[in-house]
């Protein structure tokens, strides 16, 4: 079933619409944030295993079975840790991107007095 993936694409489409068609700079930044949420969600949905648990090993798992047995059953029942590692860095990078965009928006507002991007094209120099 592909319904969760298609819903994520709807979220990405909302973000792209805000980036491309909105004239207020803050709305553009909000569009970037929404597009980022959509991409992170999509990659985590790819790694989900039905009935699986988080990829953290505990002592109880080791005591219930032997060493190799515990490793095999852990690997067969846990969700995928590789997308989680990628998205962990991506979330913090998203914060850096929003900070940089907010700094640009503040400076543009200081220079032009407005957040409207169509005004910024008219007031050259």
């Amino acid at each position: 079933m592909t319904a969760p993936y298609v819903l994520t694409m709807v979220l990405l489409a909302i973000g792209i619409y805000a980036i491309a068609c909105k004239r207020n700079l803050i709305k553009v930044v909000i569009g970037v944030m929404v597009a980022e949420y959509a991409v992170n969600l999509f990659l985590i949905l790819l790694g989900y295993r039905t009935g699986g648990f988080a990829p953290i090993r505990t002592e109880a798992m080791d005591q219930a079975a032997g060493a190799a047995e515990a490793a095999k059953s852990f690997a067969a029942a846990s969700v995928d840790p590789l997308p989680q590692a990628l998205i962990l860095t991506s979330i913090v990078i998203g914060l850096g991107v929003v900070a940089l965009l907010a700094a640009m928006a503040i400076r543009l507002h200081e220079k032009y007095g407005t957040f409207d991007v169509s005004e910024m094209r008219k007031l050259q120099g």
Binding site: A3, L12, M33, I56, V79, V92, I93
Partner: protein, 183 residues
């Protein structure tokens, strides 16, 4: 409630919050609404078995909220006073519908939801506790098997924050004759 029902409910919540964030006239309302979408996303991460991501997502969206409230100095979105650009709106909506339609067709060829292939993660999960000693496999992958990517990520954050510092400094923006070249 089953996992799928909660997942669909939370995704509907995120989509509604994103639509409100994009279309609201008051900038403060739209910023708060995108933070609500981020909180819903953090609950989805917890539901999908990613607790590290849930912690990171909720604190990061609180910080984004604080930064955006500081940046949105005017409360009102003045672009709604001028004439709306019909071509842009119609073109944007048409493109988004096309994107969703192509995605719905293309995703039929994907691996079904809930059954990942795990060609690379199978060996990682089997060996991560024995060769790294870390019980949290995500940290084992991030800081032992793939530590070079983490170095790249630290560099990207460093560069973007330095960019923000450079944009917001006051040195070199004075207009007297000594700094003619910096103007």
């Amino acid at each position: 409630m089953g996992v799928m029902t909660t997942l669909y409910f939370l995704m509907a919540f995120i989509i509604v919050a994103a639509v409100i964030a994009v279309e609201a006239r008051d900038l403060l309302s739209s910023v708060v609404s995108v933070a609500a979408a981020g909180a819903g996303l953090s609950i989805i991460f917890l539901l999908l078995g990613a607790p590290d991501l849930a912690i990171t997502q909720v604190v990061v969206e609180v910080l984004c909220l604080v930064i955006l409230i500081r940046a949105a100095v005017t409360r009102k979105d003045t672009t709604y006073d001028a004439r709306p650009n019909t071509f842009a709106v119609v073109g944007g909506l048409a493109f988004c519908t096309l994107l969703c339609a192509v995605a719905a067709y293309a995703f039929k060829a994907m691996v079904p939801f809930g059954d990942p292939k795990m060609t690379m993660s199978g060996p990682y999960l089997l060996k991560s506790f024995e060769s790294t000693g870390a019980a949290n496999s995500v940290m084992g992958v991030l800081l032992d098997f793939r530590a070079y990517d983490t170095l790249g990520e630290a560099t990207v954050i460093f560069a973007s924050i330095i960019g923000a510092y450079v944009l917001l400094r006051h040195v070199g923006r004075r207009t007297d004759a000594r700094h003619e070249s910096d103007r």
